[in-house]
Amino acid sequence: MIETCVPRLSVAVQAALGPFSLQASLEVGAEPLALVGPNGSGKTSLLLAILGLRTPDRGRIVLSDEILFDTALAIDRPTEERHLAYLPQDFGLFPHLTVVDNVAFALACRSESASPKQRCALAMTWLDRFAIGHLAKRNPSQLSGGERQRVALARALASSPKALLLDEPTASLDVEARVEVRAFLADSIRSLGLPTILVTHDVMDVEALASRIAVLEKGQVVACGLLHDVRAAPPTSFARRLLSSPTVPGTGPICTQGVHHN
């Protein structure tokens, strides 16, 4: 089998985080990686460091063949140039712009030359691709959680990213929306083939969206590998508790409404 050139995100950073120090090293290829850990373990800081919104004390971040950050070489590309798509927990849709303008914003950032009309048309094609073209003129506050997630993803992809970073993608959704969104995201991530890091504390997200998992505790990566392997041998009590949550719907404390597809 000839190995095709797969985009790869390599992260190795070190940063002081108050009570402890973040020392994490990750490699993400075609298989999405779920990043889990207790609150305050440094997940968000790691994400921000990869994005370029926080500067680690030491480290190296490489995306495919581009060095985004390297203390040894004194390289620190600004966030705007890293081409990393960021989907925050609340989706981060601009409340002062309509849905189509939100997507057009991403296009305007990357291609200054296109005219507003061209951008609008292109934005519409992105919306249509995710079956939300009919929501184009709506304001984000008028959308449901699942619809907002689609708009956020459409906007993120419109900026031609080379990697995806999702922060708690289903945390702010109600239970039914979570199911719908998980399916949608799983589909999209699979078809995009971009390096994807997914921060979550929901084991169902992990199972639906990722094939590999990294456990972060007190700033250290205590386990990293295939979900199946880590579940079989959880290194810490947190990992054990998180991964031992039942996958059969309707039997765990989380599920309160009806029957879910998984």
Binding site: L53, L87, D90, G92, H96, F105, S141
Partner: protein, 277 residues
Amino acid sequence: MKRAAGSRASSGRLYNAAMVGLGGVLLLFLVLPFVALVFDGGPEAIWRGLGCALTWPALRLSLATTLISVALVVLGGTPLAWWLARSRWRSARWLEILLQLPVVIPPAVGGIALLLAFGRRGLFGEALERLGWTPAFSVVAVVMAQVFVSAPFYLQAAVQAFGRLDPSLLAVARSLGASPPRLFLRVALPLARPWLIGGAAMSWARALGEFGATLMFAGNMTGKTQTLPLAIYTALELDIHTAQALSLLLVVFAFALLLFLRRFNRGAETTRRLATS
């Protein structure tokens, strides 16, 4: 059981009496001077007062200078507030406190400070004079005094407005590739706009009422540096009804301004609800 009900009733009455009494006294105290301002002397005296030679130059000057002052405050204050709100530099906090000083010091102190800095024999005044510029006791001094006392109001509102912005929104914008100008102009400004306008209105109100620093630094020359508040002060020496008429003019302006502020604050509430829902 009966005793408890009785004592509850009497404590309820005491509570009502105290609330109404205390609050009512303050309310009366605040309202009565305005009543006197409107009704003392009668409409004829007020009309005559409005026709005084001081009135229209002062009104023109006040309008023109305060508008320029607010424009300058917004132009310089918005970038400054943006930097202050996002700066990680520890001294930025001290700088914020320093910039609030003109609010708490007496305006006359501001006037003296301006004289000591920019007066003919001031710290920078001599250098300025060599460049041919002597701002003290001119219309420019009026604007300078107004900017000095009113800027902190806008700055505080703007820093709070920018600080209140959802950081994840800014983070997303940057990740999408928004350059610093685009981030500021297309994301931060539109989202902060209602609070910025409110701050500008407060700043304008302060500039309109500015007296102490103006008197010291710009002097009190009719038609040249005599703003509406200074005209009121001068009018007291001439005819109390002129002073009354001019005061009413200022009060009407201030009232209109407050109404405008409330309408915009309601707009701000709507935007906030949209942003957080």
